[in-house]
């Protein structure tokens, strides 16, 4: 992996003083991370297939909801990929995506409660993910805890 670290990655709590060359190869997708890979993989498939089916069948019914599901699928997919890839760059990227995911769940969750009329059909993130056993809220928090701990491993 060549190290062309982008400095534009925001909201990364990792100090730049790390020695990236030594930490590049550490695994994110093993141990407890393996369980996260599983859940993120499942949610990538769930959100992606849901949005694809709905966009093809009746996009006009709730375009906003379906686009948000597609966005969620992309975020989940990228986190899954980063966990499998491992290394410091992937860790930071996944951390940013987990934060985006958490923000997405909270914003969309609040949005669906305050203004249900904007969402004629549900998204993965509707009502804070109640249709998915609240896993959409739990997952990014667990993910961020794991990614923060993995730095010190």
């Amino acid at each position: 992996m060549s190290d062309t670290d982008r400095t534009g990655a925001p909201a990364s709590p990792a100090p730049q003083t790390d020695t990236p060359r030594q930490k590049q190869q550490f695994e994110l997708g093993t141990g407890p991370g393996r369980v996260l890979v599983w859940f993120y993989g499942v949610f990538t498939v769930a959100a992606a297939s849901r949005s694809i089916v709905q966009m093809i069948l009746d996009f006009d019914k709730a375009p906003l909801a379906y686009v948000l599901s597609a966005v969620a699928a992309v975020v989940y997919g990228f986190i899954t990929y980063s966990l499998v890839r491992g290394g410091e760059k992937a860790r930071r990227a996944a951390l940013v995506c987990c934060a985006v995911e958490l923000a997405g769940v909270l914003v969309v969750g609040t949005w669906t409660l305050v203004k249900p009329s904007a969402f004629p059909d549900a998204t993965v993130w509707s009502d804070f993910g109640v249709g998915y056993l609240f896993i959409p809220v739990i997952l990014p928090v667990t993910g961020m805890i794991w990614l923060r701990r993995a730095r010190n491993a």
Binding site: G31, R34, V35, W38, G41, V42, V45, V53, L57
Partner: protein
């Protein structure tokens, strides 16, 4: 659909989840017996997939739409094998946790399948 089969898949999946949960609690990886258990659950899920396809072919239609029904059938069939493969490459307690999580996901999918088919 075949309600008995749906219930059977859900119950065996939950049993598998509990079994692998115990293995994880004891700090053990998945062993041969666990994989036999996963095979049993997977065979049941495969039977369900086939029964579902046969019923669609015979002209019966799920209440909430055919595409969603087929997607859930495939997802239900793939859940436990996929988790099993992950646990093959993770020979720690976390592999057991993954399979337990996979089996719980399958049980949830069965509930959804039941709703989607309707009565």
């Amino acid at each position: 659909m075949l309600d008995a089969l749906t219930v059977a898949v859900a119950v065996t999946a939950l049993a598998l989840a509990a079994w692998c949960g115990i293995a994880a609690y004891r700090d053990q990886p998945t062993k041969d017996w666990h994989f036999i258990g996963m095979a049993v659950v997977s065979v049941l899920a495969l039977a369900q997939l086939l029964v579902g396809i046969v019923q669609l072919a015979r002209g019966e239609r799920p209440e909430q739409g055919m595409t969603i029904f087929i997607a859930y059938l495939i997802g239900a069939f793939a859940a436990v094998p996929a988790a099993g493969f992950l646990s093959l490459t993770e020979r720690t307690r976390w592999g057991s946790v993954t399979v337990a999580a996979g089996a719980v996901v399958l049980a949830v999918l069965e509930v959804r399948l039941y709703d989607i088919w309707g009565n």
